[in-house]
């Protein structure tokens, strides 16, 4: 099954106020590791990023998961490394690889 994971920055998270450079670096490295793990296992089918860097929606992932529970676990992992609030939407029908682009 395919799922769309939509990551948004939680309102009032304070992240836009001040971001420690060490924290930023830590997050980039942690998130990059998580994404590469997802790729290695063939779970990341596609991704999309907003054109506007200030958009509330930060990124969308299309992932393969055996069921909704598994998709929720992936969403929780992504939320943990990114700090995003992640919504999970099951995709029906054929390939949804273009979503979010």
């Amino acid at each position: 099954m395919r799922f769309l994971l939509a990551g948004t920055r939680p309102p009032g998270s304070g992240e836009t106020g001040e971001l420690a450079l060490t924290t930023a670096a830590h997050r980039v490295v942690a998130a990059a590791a998580w994404h590469s793990w997802l790729r290695r296992w063939g779970l990341l089918l596609s991704f999309g990023l907003p054109r506007d860097p200030a958009a509330e929606l930060r990124a969308c992932l299309i992932v393969a998961a055996s069921d909704e529970q598994a998709a929720n676990r992936l969403a929780a992992g992504w939320g943990a490394v990114s700090g995003y609030r992640v919504a999970v939407l099951p995709l029906t029908g054929g390939s949804s690889g273009e979503a979010g682009r």
Binding site: E15, T16, G17, E18, L19, A20, L21, T22, A24, A25, H26, R27, V28, V29, A31, A32, W34, H35, F47, L49, P53, A54, R58, A59, S82
Partner: protein, 541 residues
């Protein structure tokens, strides 16, 4: 734990941060907006790099996103419409990815960073505001990080930053059109960075002796300045000073956190790369005027390049303090000079100066004068006076590491008092005449006076001298072993318990043996020839 990738990325972000702020400031004209844009740029990297991969040129990527975001902000702001029009020529030229404003090239970016530093150190701002703003805008530290470094609440630091930004905005301190000669403001910029360093290197309060982050940030800022204005000697002097000081960082505290003074430090733990950087920077700094920073760097170099505490050139240190005192007559300089006097002429010679300083109002709340006087009283054998001064110092000290050190020193003074020091005697005239004969054998070495005693010096390194009724020679390790095995002699020890390890006392019989003494003078001079040249201070006027 941070991975190497994380450390590299943090370093990249730190390097880019002032550039991002500067370019955003140039476009938006507002410090707060510039900061927001720089933050959003980092967030954009955080969103995109994990998915798209870290770009080949992360700096150029960040700069492009930052510039675009700043332009969007100006464009989107209805209040800024007029400003946008006035900036149009500038904005139109900034379209190449990773490129720079027209006509600015790399130097333009460098100047932007320099302008940013000068703006943060603007004379309109109080010193605490200058420090906080520099750390936030140039070093990229968060309010929390700055607060932790200075033992302040985050709210206090935030207030300082907001107030500083407001003052700059109220007085319309322009970034783009500020045509002031930024180099003229370098002195206050250097002061602010040195202040940050001092707070990090020896904080006034707290458990830990060092707050390495602040000290390291100050060093980074000094490095940045030397790269931005390489022709200016001032930043090189600051860089030399900070490099020498930081080179001892790892050796300054014992495993339990207690303070270790210079004589107790393991010099093998000193950072040789930093010392080398200090020496190179000092060479560049010597092209400039002999101001306080350069003289302090020279003083730090004397310590950093001494092979051992015993071999420290205290005479040179005293000479530098004399010069420093002539241009910066402060009680702190006078206090440090008194220590140098004690090391060269004995504690009794320094105590009168310390007695005068003890009553100085500027030092009334400082433990240092009492701590130094206590130590000198202890070494002079005045145990009761030493204990009283240690008590006074302990009442005033607030850094816990220093408190432990003082308490331990007091215990030692109480449990193992030192015998009273004799005053140094003048040498007999016939020995001075004999010394002059031997000095002839030393060829072109300089004959100087050091604390009333004649000495021979080659390229700044003393190798033969007279002390009381003895001639002393400086010898290489092998020669010294050879000398001590042949003669009934010993190491030169001007003060009990403080031998000068490279120097031996020439026994009277050898002084009279023309052939033998000539050979030892030759060996001593040969050793001095191998030593690195020490620059002597230039006399003013």
């Amino acid at each position: 734990m941070s991975s190497p990738e994380e450390a590299a990325l943090t370093a990249a972000f730190r390097d880019e941060w002032p550039r991002l702020i500067a370019v955003a400031l140039r476009i938006t004209g507002d410090l707060q907006a510039a900061e927001d844009v720089a933050q959003e740029t980092l967030l954009a990297a955080f969103d995109r790099w994990p998915l798209q991969g870290i770009p080949d040129r992360p700096g150029a990527w960040l700069m492009t996103v930052c510039r675009n975001r700043a332009r969007n902000l100006v464009r989107d702001s209805s209040r800024a419409q007029e400003r946008l029009a006035s900036l149009r020529p500038l904005l139109d030229g900034q379209t190449s990815p990773g490129g720079t404003a027209p006509g600015t090239k790399a130097a333009g970016i460098a100047d932007d960073q320099l302008r940013l530093i000068a703006m943060c150190c603007h004379p309109l701002l109080a010193t605490d505001g200058q420090v906080a703003l520099t750390l936030r805008m140039v070093a990229g530290l968060t309010t929390q990080e700055i607060a932790r470094g200075f033992n302040l609440s985050a709210a206090t630091v935030a207030q300082r930053i907001v107030r500083a930004k407001r003052i700059l905005a109220q007085h319309r301190v322009a970034f783009v059109t500020d045509d002031l000669d930024i180099r003229a403001r370098l002195a206050s910029v250097l002061d602010v960075i040195y202040l940050i360093f001092n707070e990090g290197y020896l904080p006034a309060e707290g458990e830990s002796l060092t707050r390495g982050d602040l000290a390291s940030e100050a060093r980074r800022l000094a490095y940045l300045l030397t790269s931005l204005v390489p022709a200016e000697p001032g930043p090189w002097a600051l860089r030399a000073l900070l490099s020498f000081q930081l080179s001892r960082q790892a050796a300054r505290t014992a495993p339990g956190g207690a303070l270790l003074t210079l004589d107790a430090q393991d010099r093998s733990k000193w950072d040789r790369e930093l010392i080398a950087d200090g020496i190179r920077s000092l060479e560049r700094a010597r092209d400039g005027p002999r101001g306080p920073l350069l003289l302090q760097a020279e003083l730090a170099a004397c310590h950093a390049t001494a092979p051992s505490f015993a071999a420290t050139d205290w005479a040179a240190i005293l000479a530098f303090y004399d010069e420093l005192l002539a241009i910066q007559d402060t009680p702190v300089v006078a206090l440090n000079r008194a220590v140098a006097v004690a090391m060269t002429a004995g504690p009794a010679a320094a105590l009168p100066a310390l007695d005068a300083l003890a009553g100085h109002p500027a030092l009334a709340d400082s433990h240092r004068v009492w701590a130094v006087r206590a130590e000198l009283h202890r070494r002079a054998g005045h145990t009761a006076a030493a204990l009283a001064d240690y008590d006074r110092a302990l009442d005033l000290v607030s850094n816990q590491a220093e408190r432990h050190y003082l308490a331990q020193a007091r215990r030692q003074a109480e449990e193992a008092p030192m015998p009273e020091m004799p005053a140094f005697r003048k040498p007999p005239p016939e020995l001075v005449a004999r010394f002059d004969d031997l000095a002839q054998l030393a060829g072109d070495a300089d004959r100087r006076q050091m604390f009333g005693y004649p000495v021979c010096v080659l390229r700044g390194n003393m190798f033969m001298g007279l002390h009381e009724d003895s001639i002393i020679l400086r010898l290489a390790d092998d020669d010294r072993d050879d000398f001590l095995s042949r003669y009934d002699s010993g190491l030169f020890e001007p003060m009990p318990g403080r031998p000068m390890k490279e120097y031996v006392i020439v026994p009277p019989a050898l002084v009279a043996d023309e052939a033998a003494i000539a050979e030892w003078v030759r060996r001593s001079r040969a050793y001095a020839e191998q030593l690195p040249t020490k620059k002597r201070k230039q006399k003013k006027g």
